[in-house]
Structures are given as C-alpha cells and as structure tokens.
C-alpha cells in the first residue's frame, strides 16, 4: 500500500518538476540582469516582447545566409528548426525542449556563436535576458 501511495505521490510531483526545470535557471537570468544593470542605461527588467523582436528581426551585420535567428530556428519557436547542413534543431521554446538552458556554459557558447553569425557582434546581457524571457514564455 505504502509503495502505491509513494508512486501516486511521485506521479503527481513529476509534471511539476518537469515544468520547473524547463525554465532557464534563475541564476542564469540573475547573472544577465546584474550585467545589464552594470551597463547602465536604465535597465528595468527583461522583456519577452523585445526578445521576440530580437528573435525575428533580420539584421544586416552578420552572415548574409543567416540574417535572423529564425533563418535556422524557424518562425515557430515551439517547432523544430534546421541548420544549413540539413540537421534538425530541437525547438527553442522552453516548453517544447525542457532540457535546454540548463547548462549556463552551453547557453553562453551558443549566444556567442549565433549572435556573431546573425548580428555580426556579440549580444548584450540585456538582449540575452530578453531573448531568454521570450523563450521561457513560449
């Protein structure tokens, strides 16, 4: 009986646990927020709306074949994308790819590479936080 009760309890907690771990870790967001504040210019929190604009904007400063994040990730954040070499990319939305954003070093690695490719420069801490806020809500 006890085992059954534990099992039921576990099953009830499981979806909660999954939901929590899908979001980017608070420490990651706080790190970007601290860096954004340090940059000045009146930082007042991250904005998912600005993040979506960043995600969809076609920039002229990066590589011509990847002007926007959506060039590879697709227009639907909950759907898969595709690299230039034809490899599928798991969805960027935290809800669709719960394992994403859990490793801060990995997040930084991809921001560095992809911002350079799309914008022709590294992204600012505010841009990173905005973008993560957008994906966390998708």
């Amino acid at each position: 009986m006890t085992v059954t009760r534990y099992a039921i309890g576990f099953l009830c907690v499981l979806p909660l646990a999954t939901t929590v771990s899908a979001a980017p870790p608070a420490s990651l967001i706080e790190g970007y927020a601290a860096a954004a504040k340090a940059e000045g210019s009146g930082f007042a929190g991250f904005s998912a709306a600005r993040g979506e604009t960043l995600h969809r904007t076609e920039f002229a400063g990066g590589k011509p074949d990847t002007p926007a994040c959506t060039s590879c990730h697709g227009k639907d954040a909950r759907g898969p994308g595709k690299t230039r070499t034809g490899k599928a990319i798991e969805p960027m939305a935290a809800s669709a790819s719960p394992a994403r954003y859990q490793d801060p070093a990995k997040v930084e690695k991809w921001f560095k590479r992809n911002c350079n490719e799309v914008l022709g420069r590294e992204c600012t801490p505010r841009e990173k936080g905005d973008w993560l806020a957008y994906m966390a809500g998708q």
Binding site: R84, T85, G86, K87, A105, K112, R113, E117
Partner: protein, 164 residues
C-alpha cells in the same frame, strides 16, 4: 520450472543481430566508418551537422581544423580550451591515418602524406564515389548540403555509408 520460450527466442535474436552488425563492423567493409564514440565529441561536432567519423580525415586535418574553429567553413564554432583539447585528442587518435586506419585507408587514396585536407567532400575518393549524384539531387531541399550524409545514407549515423 516454466521457461519463457518467447523471451529466450527474442533474446537470442537480438544477440544474433548484434553479432551480425559487429562482424560487419569488424570486417571493416569499405563503407563502414565507426561513428564518433566520445560523448563530448559527438555532442560538440553534432551540434550543427552530423558528427563525421574521425576515420574520414587524417590526423593533420583534424589538428588544423580544431585550431581554426573560430572560422569553421565560415562559421564560428569556437570551443573553450578544455573541450577543444578533448575533441582534438579523440579525432586525432581515431583518424584515417592513426587508430581509424583500417576504416579510413580507402578514403585516403590520392591524399598526400602530411596533407591536411579540410573538406571530406573534396577528397578524391569521395568525389569519385559521388560522381553519379546529379546537380539536381544535390539541390534537393531534403539534401541541401553535401555535409548532410544522412539525407541519402540512411544508416550514416550508425557508420554505414553504402549506396542507398
């Protein structure tokens, strides 16, 4: 005692199939290149494209490629120093002229010793093997890139690159 005949039969079948696959691999058939076995290498190289088997290029190629990751065929694929060192070690140890020789030897035909070719798709043997592929097929939207081996070689991820 009640022996679960069906389970035993299924188990034997699996063992038999595994043995068949292994023996094909051991034989080092022309079209078999062991998939990347190092987890970090598989993840880092496989982030953007199929993680190409180490035995497809000589050690000098991998060394050069890993030292130029900030411009990896025009893309920024840079890694931190520790990760880069681990990936380099795996690729160099299993390259076409080192540990992966028995698999990569044929693909090295026409490649000078000490040369460090970067594109697998420009190796003379690769070009020869793919001369029957038409320009239209390369442009197919499901292919898109010569780096997309699995588009045609359905078992590429398992190491098999025979004609499909």
């Amino acid at each position: 005692m009640n022996i679960p005949t069906r389970s035993v039969a299924a188990g034997l079948l699996i063992v038999g199939l595994a043995a068949a696959v292994l023996s094909k691999a051991r034989a080092g058939g022309d079209d078999f290149f062991p998939p990347v076995a190092d987890k970090v290498t598989a993840e880092e190289c496989g982030g953007c494209h199929m993680a190409f088997p180490a035995a497809m290029l000589p050690a000098a190629s991998w060394r050069r490629m890993m030292s130029e990751l900030d411009n990896h065929f025009g893309d920024d694929a840079s890694l931190d120093a520790d990760t880069a060192a681990r990936v380099t070690r795996y690729l160099v140890d299993n390259a076409a002229d080192t540990g992966g020789r028995q698999y990569g030897r044929k693909l090295m035909q026409g490649v000078r010793a000490n040369a460090s070719p970067q594109r697998i798709t420009e190796l003379p043997k690769w070009v020869h093997e793919h001369d029957e592929v038409s320009p239209g097929e390369w442009k197919d939207k499901d292919v898109g890139s010569k780096a997309n081996c699995p588009a045609c070689h359905v078992d590429a991820k398992l190491g098999y690159f025979e004609d499909d």
